[in-house]
Amino acid sequence: MQEKTFYTITVFSENTVGVLNQITTIFTRRQLNIESLSVSPSAIDGIHKFTITTFLDSEEAAIKLVKQIDKRVDVLKAYFNTDEELVYQEIALYKIETAKLVATSNIEKLVRKYNARILDVSDHSTIIQKTGHYEETQALFEELSESIGVLQFIRSGRVAITKSRVERLSDMIERRRLIDESNK
């Protein structure tokens, strides 16, 4: 099997109904599986940011994919990065049976080792939070599963920010506005 590379695709779009569908159909048509997805309003009013991770065969495939996304009318800008170019983070929540957690002697050790936080404790369950890369949240999951068991587990999609200096979206919008005005 061909070695695949993990890519993070970032998309800025107008906040209109159905943009996600427009983006995902571009993946579907190419038989690409979305590994994770996170969507949120960006710093600019009315513009949403999508962070999508996927395995791709080559940089060429990434270029073609991003061009097709960028082509959609509602999309302002789409680009791709590999992990080396990004600072990225995921968040995971773990629900543990409180009685079992108390019965172990190493709560403190666990929390310190994984830099985790305890968010909530009740008679029946305790909620632990951990942020980090996939491997890190996965390591805690595996340790908990093997020791005291995990009642529920949830992990967010990736959020990412580029390390390099790129044109800020607000600057791009301003530049476009000026071009349009000069064309009028």
């Binding site: 107008e14 159905g18 073609k64 061009k67």
Partner: protein, 574 residues
């Protein structure tokens, strides 16, 4: 003028819709009413003087007609259909327009907004269904959004690389009132249809062409869509660059232009196919290297430096890697390159194309056009019809052998004279597209070439022709087979003719039932007279010609094969 545009009035959403269409200069709509679009049709009733509505017989026909209209007229085609099945019936034509970059706005009715998502009667998720096959899809749920949505729709459909837009119009928004004023959209922050031209690329392109010993240009529909025909001719003539055209690039230049070497692709001419793999600089202009043009990409133009002119960034390097990518509108980029070109000529290189032409004439064309015995050939019919119109007609085709033969042998003297389903290959396209083409170019002769299979897919549009006296000349090349599939069965499936033979009705009688004059020709000696009668007849005409049952379209580049290995058929070889 400006005051009139911004004048505010209180009207219903459906009135706003019709008024917005008028503001966009729409004078012809193809449509079919139904429950969820009735208020719009009611508003249309008040504006009959300004907007001509053509009632088709099936929504697919409305969309194909809008496509035919748009292709020949430079305007945006408009189709108006109801919700649910009305909209889903339109999807084939919308997809076709997406593939062939045809500017079109389709307005579909939708159930009232409180019923959305409840599986209401004639509700379909039109936005969800259409998003992958439209340039833009938007649902109008408030009357105050109508003017805004129409304005955007026309801007998006017609700018940059054109394409279809669907507006899904909830019925309550049609009925409710709003304050109306109309403003044309001239820009959107998320959509940049006219890329900034990079002068370095212009210089690089010119330099490559100036150094070329064997340049070859591929002319696509982008030239026609960009109204860049004159700029193209100036470009080609200055450096005397031979060119081939894609099926949708046909008619961008007159057929008899001395630099024209013929059609590219699976059933194109020999020269343009094999010389693609012998040229040193390949110049693609407004074309997208479709697989039917390139065949096997691994053996396609590997020896050449490729220059790609296109307005769509996503087409760059999509199928063929370009050495120089000239992004932008061909009307602006071509003259910039032309300015930097040296006057040049390539007589020995041109002679190579002429030798290919002669070979093709001797092995294929002479037999196809000028046989004196045996059954009538498809090519001779097309050639005679073209000549009977002094090569001035619009050629509309269906899909299959009739399409390949028409595009091979019809000749053009004016641009925007080809209407064919190139990308999607939609059987049933021809007849309704021909109706639309006649509305788009009422002063021109419209010849619709169809096969017996494709005609029956949308033959109900005879009703539209009857109701509006649409003067289209329908040439039915009848071989009582699904000819192209049969051809493949003969070549690649051991002549196992699985489900391709057709028992057909008496087509002339069917036409007669609709008041369409018709004539069937079986003998070669009757053909000229019948064609003359068809052209002279003031009105629609069906000319059915019984052609060779097992006629083949040659030459042929088998699917996935190299353009160098073109098959000539009948025992001939390159």
């Amino acid at each position: 003028m400006k005051e009139e545009k911004t004048k505010t009035a209180v009207i219903t959403g459906s009135e706003a819709m019709i008024q917005s269409l008028i503001n966009e200069g729409v004078d012809t709509i193809f449509g079919y009413p139904g429950g969820a679009i009735m208020p719009v049709f009611d508003s249309l009733y008040d504006q009959k003087e300004k907007i001509d509505h053509v009632l088709v017989r099936h929504e697919q026909g409305a969309v194909h007609a809008a496509q035919g209209y748009a292709r020949v007229s430079k305007k945006v085609g408009v189709a108006l259909v109801t919700s649910g099945p009305g909209a889903t019936n339109a999807i084939t034509g919308i997809t076709d327009a997406m593939m062939d970059s045809t500017p079109m706005v389709v307005i579909s009715g939708q159930v009232i907004s409180s019923l959305l998502g409840t599986d209401a009667f004639q509700e379909a998720d039109v936005i969800g269904v259409s998003q992958p096959v439209t340039k833009w899809a938007y649902q109008i749920r408030r009357p105050e959004d109508v003017a805004w949505a129409i304005s955007r729709a026309f801007y998006i459909a017609s700018s940059g690389r054109p394409g279809p837009v669907i507006l899904d119009f909830a019925k309550d928004a049609q009925i409710k009132t709003c304050e109306y004023h109309y403003e044309k959209t001239t820009s959107l922050r998320s959509y940049r249809p006219n890329p900034t031209i990079n002068n370095e690329k212009i210089e690089e392109a010119a330099q490559l062409i100036n150094q070329a010993k064997k340049p070859f240009a591929l002319v696509g529909q982008g030239v026609i869509l960009g109204n860049a025909e004159k700029e193209l001719i100036a470009f080609l003539e200055k450096a005397q660059i031979p060119f081939g055209w894609t099926i949708l690039g046909l008619s961008a230049v007159p057929t008899d232009h001395p630099l024209n070497c013929g059609m590219l692709g699976m059933h194109g001419n020999i020269g343009p196919n094999i010389k693609t793999n012998e040229c040193d600089v390949l110049i693609a202009i407004g074309m997208r290297f479709d697989d039917r043009v390139t065949g096997d990409l691994n053996t396609y133009a590997k020896q050449a430096k490729v220059i790609h002119f296109d307005i769509d960034r996503a087409e760059m390097d999509k199928n063929v890697k370009a050495t120089v990518k000239v992004l932008g509108d061909a009307k602006r980029t071509l003259p910039l390159v032309t300015n930097l070109l040296n006057e040049n000529s390539h007589p020995a290189w041109m002679d190579e194309f002429k030798a290919c032409e002669k070979k093709e004439y001797d092995c294929i064309i002479n037999n196809e056009l000028y046989s004196e015995t045996g059954p009538i050939k498809m090519g001779e019919v097309v050639n005679k019809v073209s000549e009977a119109t002094n090569n001035k007609a619009i050629c509309v085709t269906d899909v299959g052998q009739n399409q390949m033969i028409s595009t091979r042998y019809f000749k053009f003297t004016e641009t925007r004279s080809i209407v064919t389903s190139g990308g999607l290959g939609t059987m049933g396209f021809g007849l309704p597209a021909g109706i639309g083409a006649k509305y788009g170019a009422p002063d021109r002769t419209v010849c619709v070439f169809v096969g017996d299979g494709g005609l029956q897919m949308t033959m109900h549009e005879f009703g539209t022709i009857m109701q509006y006296d649409v003067n289209v000349k329908i040439i039915l090349l009848n071989n009582n087979f699904l000819g192209m599939v049969r051809q493949w069965q003969e070549l690649f499936f051991d002549e196992r003719y699985s489900e391709t033979q057709m028992i057909n009705p008496d087509f002339v009688k069917v036409a007669d039932a609709y008041g369409i004059k018709g004539r069937k020709v079986v003998k070669r000696e009757d053909l000229d007279d019948a064609i003359a009668e068809m052209i002279a007849h003031d009105g629609a005409y069906l000319l059915e010609v019984e052609v060779e049952t097992k006629g083949m379209v040659y030459p042929m580049v088998p699917a996935g094969g190299s353009v160098s290995n073109i098959i000539l058929g009948n025992g001939h070889s390159l």
